[in-house]
């Protein structure tokens, strides 16, 4: 993560404040910052979303674009499933250390986290329905390329990333596919598909409302905080990212940080709290997504040079 250099006095100030339940911006340990969400701003993508977590118009900014394409099936792949391929990149404009190969480690970590949360973590009932992405079994399927770009870092990248990815997948519209079975002269039935080339005839993804939300817990001193700011992340010794689905199942857990571990007793407390916070976040997400959809409607009539994506303050 972008590492600030903090003096020992500043570090001590943050740690002691959190022990008493006070954070630098006045929040409690479990309070989260404002979230601004906008969808559908990339016209060339099948779906897109931009999410900013932060107060006063400045915060961690993640832009996610989803591009769908048809892949031919090769032996060894699952026979009747589509697939999702994730890629996360931290832009050098977010922090100086992301320049060149500096962001390589964090890119790998975030890519695997997003992949775990979206593909593996939402399998089964209630998750993203990959079998609906199959066009013809053993022949062709949709592959969704989820590409995320981290534009600004002010702490808590994982939460913003998963939220933006969720919104982008909910915004994704695939062209409708018509499948025909043609019997040729020798009597064998061949299935063929045709992608309808109509910009209005689009289909939403199935099961996106079952995608999880991520909550990251940062251990600072003896207490933990949710939605850490940059300064708090600089004094974090260990963090735990928990992804929870709308059915309140735990979809993925990943620990980060190299300085310390967690006590096992703290673990169950964190998991309980994660469930509670995720429920609140999911409710908030629904409201945010509706507002983003309304904003998209209004923007489509306005000038195409969208001046600002997000709310200016």
């Amino acid at each position: 993560m972008a590492s600030l250099v903090l003096s020992p006095a500043e570090q001590d100030f943050i740690i002691r404040g959190i022990e008493k339940g006070f954070r630098g911006d006045g929040r409690g340990n479990l309070d989260r910052r404002e979230v601004t969400l906008r969808t559908g701003m990339i016209s060339q993508a099948s779906g897109s979303a931009r999410c900013r977590i932060g107060n006063l118009g400045v915060g961690t900014d993640v832009l996610v674009g989803v591009k769908a394409e048809v892949n031919a099936w090769t032996p060894g792949e699952p026979e009747a499933l589509g697939s999702v391929v994730c890629n996360v990149e931290c832009s050098p404009s977010a922090a100086q250390e992301f320049e060149g190969r500096g962001a390589e480690e964090i890119n790998v970590e975030l890519t695997q986290l997003l992949d775990r949360v979206i593909s593996r973590g939402s399998q089964g009932a209630g998750g993203l329905d990959l079998s609906a992405l199959c066009i013809i079994p053993k022949q062709a399927y949709w592959v969704l390329h989820v590409d995320a770009l981290v534009l600004d870092v002010r702490g808590s990248i994982a939460d913003a990333l998963v939220m933006a990815a969720r919104a982008a997948l909910m915004d994704t519209r695939l062209p409708r596919v018509v499948v025909e079975t043609i019997t040729d002269d020798s009597g064998t039935a061949q299935a063929e598909f045709d992608v309808v080339d109509d910009a209005e005839d689009l289909v939403a993804l199935k099961g996106v409302s079952g995608l999880p939300v991520a909550v990251t817990f940062n251990q600072v001193g003896k207490r933990y905080v949710v939605d850490a700011s940059e300064q708090e992340e600089a004094v974090t010794q260990a963090k735990l990212t928990v992804a929870v689905s709308p059915a309140l199942e735990i979809c993925a857990i990943q620990k980060g940080g190299i300085f310390r571990g967690f006590q096992p007793s703290l673990m169950s407390e964190i998991l309980q709290t994660a469930q509670r916070i995720a429920k609140e976040e999911l409710t908030r997400f629904v409201a945010l997504y509706e507002e983003a959809a309304k904003h998209k409607e209004q923007q489509s009539d306005g000038p195409s040079t969208g001046s600002t994506f997000l709310v200016a303050f």
């Binding site: 032996p75 790998v108 399998q123 309140l248 990943q254 571990g261």
Partner: protein, 270 residues
């Protein structure tokens, strides 16, 4: 799936190859009610063997030999680790040392797909997992400006999460062999679930049939979980139970590692 990289320096095998199918192979039941295919019960781990110091210098002093090394076997999993350091690091931090890990699957290690000798994203992420699991155990403040490097090679893999926990155990043994100051030995264990029951230490077919996998790395003496990874869905109660059970298994693995480290010190000439 097929590799399009044509390597002129090596004899390239056929572009695509498949594992031979044996006619009378019985499809194993992945999550049985009684014993598993290899005769283990549901919470029984595979037998562990550790040899420390296989890569030690034969002469009195060799500058290129690793400080410590270990060879680890758990069932069919075979992992080898070499630890170099403390030595001069690239990023020299005056307050605290750094721990770096390099993880690689040997090309012949996984079931039937030849792995490229170039590090994939999978291997890079596993290297980060290993760093995050092991670094809390090392007294890095005792090695300022220095760097401790661990190089892990998986010779044979059998279950992705089980292989990662084998790698963690192997690095722990190698660090102890290198004489690096540690708070405790990190022991690790993995479990998988098919949403009805949790099974410890799963092989590849069992993991493929599971819906959720869990990996825990634990330091028993300081009672700290240094790494926790869950891949797949499960309810809160199931996860809590599994973390508890996995932590207990880690304590058993810890006892095994300690026993091997002790016996390696008792051997003459080691």
């Amino acid at each position: 799936m097929t590799s399009n990289i044509y390597d002129r320096r090596r004899v390239n095998g056929p572009a695509r190859s498949v594992e031979p199918v044996y006619i009378d192979a019985i499809e194993p039941i992945a999550f049985p009610d009684g014993l598993r295919n290899d005769g283990r019960s549901l919470d029984q781990l595979r037998p562990i063997y550790i040899k420390t110091g296989p890569l030690a210098a034969q002469q009195t002093f060799s500058s290129t030999a690793p400080s410590g090394s270990a060879y680890y076997e758990q069932g069919k999993i075979r992992v080898s680790c070499a630890v170099y350091g403390p030595r001069q690091g690239r990023k020299s931090n005056p307050r605290i040392g750094s721990f770096d890990c390099d993880f690689q699957y040997a090309p012949f290690s996984c079931s039937w797909k030849k792995r490229s000798h170039i590090r994939g994203a999978d291997e890079k992420e596993t290297a980060q997992i290993l760093e995050q699991a092991i670094a809390p155990a090392i007294r890095l403040e005792a090695y300022p400006k220095a760097c401790i490097d661990a190089y892990v090679t998986v010779i044979e893999s059998d279950g992705k999460f089980a292989t990662i926990s084998a790698a963690i155990n192997c690095i722990s043994a190698a660090l102890a062999d290198a004489g690096i100051e540690l708070y405790d030995t990190v022991a690790s264990c993995s479990m998988s679930s098919d949403s009805s029951r949790w099974v410890a230490d799963c092989s590849q077919p069992e993991e493929d049939a599971s819906s959720c996998s869990l990996l825990v790395a634990y330091m028993p003496s300081v009672d700290e979980i240094t790494y926790l990874l869950q891949n797949g869905k499960s309810t809160l109660d199931q996860t809590e139970q599994a973390v508890q059970a996995c932590t207990n298994s880690c304590t058993r693995v810890y006892a095994v590692i300690s026993r091997y480290l002790q016996s390696s010190m008792e051997q003459p000439g080691t």
